[in-house]
């Protein structure tokens, strides 16, 4: 159900370019004009000169137009101008923390700065008017997944597991669980030494998304930790026969606990030698 709603939501918004309602500002005010110019900027290609210049104009009229600031930062960040992008995004966060902290947290996460990601998300969720369900800008993932993985990267596995347990419990309908949710839960159970729970979670993820070999890896590690070496070998062998080694990998990844094909091979070889 969640996927259907999300699809409808983002499908609709992809056509209206996430424009905002400017009628909330008084007629002829700088805020209204700034808002309208921002909307006009979004009709041009992201990162184009025309779009960026219009956003500059909008920001000049209303320096607290956080939406324009955020939109201006996006092409810089997406294209590796981290310094410039962050300087602008910081201003958006300052002007309106509730609507921009999550986006900055996403970039900290994506650039491997897990400490700052945690700081921003902890600050966000502590806001009295925070939305409980917020997603990465493409709608791919709930930000609580990023928070849990960031905790794990900082070796705060217990905190990460607590976030994931609450996250999964927050969905009344398990059909709302996504492609990475039980995987991260399982990985965190594993890191906390709860191997049986890890196996249960990973098996649930495999039922949702059977074609990801990362699931097999953590299932095998958990069986191995429980002393079931033969089972672990069997799982890894099964994965290596089902999947082939990718020729190349994208450099964009929401999963900072990515398992590479070679991890399966290395773990299997270790078990065979034992």
């Amino acid at each position: 159900m969640k996927q259907v709603i999300l699809f409808a939501f983002f499908f609709t918004f992809s056509f209206i370019n996430a424009q905002v309602n400017c009628l909330i500002y008084p007629e002829n005010s700088d805020e209204r004009k700034s808002c309208e110019i921002t909307n006009e900027a979004l009709t041009y290609e992201q990162g184009s000169k025309k779009s960026q210049m219009l956003l500059d104009k909008a920001i000049l009229l209303n320096p607290k137009n956080d939406f324009a600031l955020k939109e201006k930062s996006v092409p810089f960040l997406k294209r590796g101008f981290i310094l410039e992008g962050m300087e602008i995004l910081n201003k958006a966060v300052e002007a309106n923390p509730r609507d921009n902290l999550d986006y900055r947290a996403y970039w900290f996460f994506a650039l491997g700065n897990y400490k700052m990601c945690v700081e921003d998300l902890e600050r966000y969720y502590a806001l009295p008017n925070a939305f409980p369900y917020i997603y990465t800008s493409g709608g791919d993932m709930d930000m609580r997944l990023l928070l849990a993985m960031s905790y794990a990267k900082l070796n705060q596995n217990k905190k990460g597991l607590d976030v994931m347990k609450k996250y999964v419990d927050s969905y009344e309908d398990t059909s709302d669980i996504g492609n990475l949710d039980y995987y991260v839960l399982g990985m965190l159970y594993y890191k906390n030494g709860e191997f049986e729970n890890a196996i249960n979670a990973i098996e649930k993820q495999m039922a949702i998304l059977p074609n990801k070999y990362g699931n097999y890896y953590y299932a095998a590690l958990s069986h191995k930790a429980l002393g079931n070496t033969e089972k672990a070998k069997e799982i890894l062998k099964d994965a290596m026969s089902k999947f082939s080694k990718p020729d190349y990998y994208s450099l964009i990844n929401y999963n900072c606990f990515k398992v590479y094909f070679e991890d399966l091979e290395n773990e299997y070889n270790l078990l065979v030698k034992e």
Binding site: G47, K49, G80, I82, L83, Y248
Partner: protein, 165 residues
């Protein structure tokens, strides 16, 4: 008369300076990230196959073996030096990949943990950029035409050592 003129002239000068600063606002290229050839830092041999269609999408460029392979190749060439010890921060390195899978137009930023500009030891900077320039296994993703494009990689360091992803 002179006493009145001096502050007035200073005032005018200040206004002129402030107007000039506004005019000096950074000019945009047609697209954020368009990187023109700079003979001081760019190899002459690198050329885009079709300059009219150079995309800006990191998702269209990958690496054989992924980020882990980049890190592995990096560590094979990296020589730690005591002078790197105090450096903790990030290198964001942009590059262009042409249709022949050749790289060029390398540009980079060095940032602290909050992504503010900092300096790194010159020797570290030179080594990092040299190693990244030597990476050869870039690949176009999901494309039959292998179009020219830009991407970037992030390398994070703690006390002068690469943090593995």
């Amino acid at each position: 008369m002179t006493k009145i003129q001096t502050p007035f002239l200073l005032f005018l000068l200040l206004i002129l300076l402030s107007c000039n600063q506004k005019k000096e606002q950074k000019e945009y290229t047609e697209h954020i990230g368009d990187t023109v050839f700079n003979p001081k830092i760019d190899h002459q041999n690198f050329k885009f196959c079709d300059t009219s269609k150079v995309f800006h999408s990191r998702s269209l460029i990958g690496y054989i073996g992924g980020q882990r392979a980049i890190e592995k190749e990096f560590l094979q060439q990296f020589v730690f030096d005591e002078s790197f010890q105090d450096f903790t921060g990030t290198f964001s390195i942009r590059l262009a990949l042409n249709c022949k899978r050749e790289t060029g137009r390398f540009r980079w930023e060095i940032l602290d943990n909050q992504f503010r500009q900092i300096d790194s030891p010159k020797k570290l900077e030179e080594q990092v950029i040299t190693i990244v320039r030597n990476l050869k296994n870039w690949e176009h993703i999901n494309s039959e035409t292998n179009p020219d494009g830009y991407c970037y990689i992030i390398l994070n360091f703690n006390n002068g050592k690469l943090i593995l992803s």
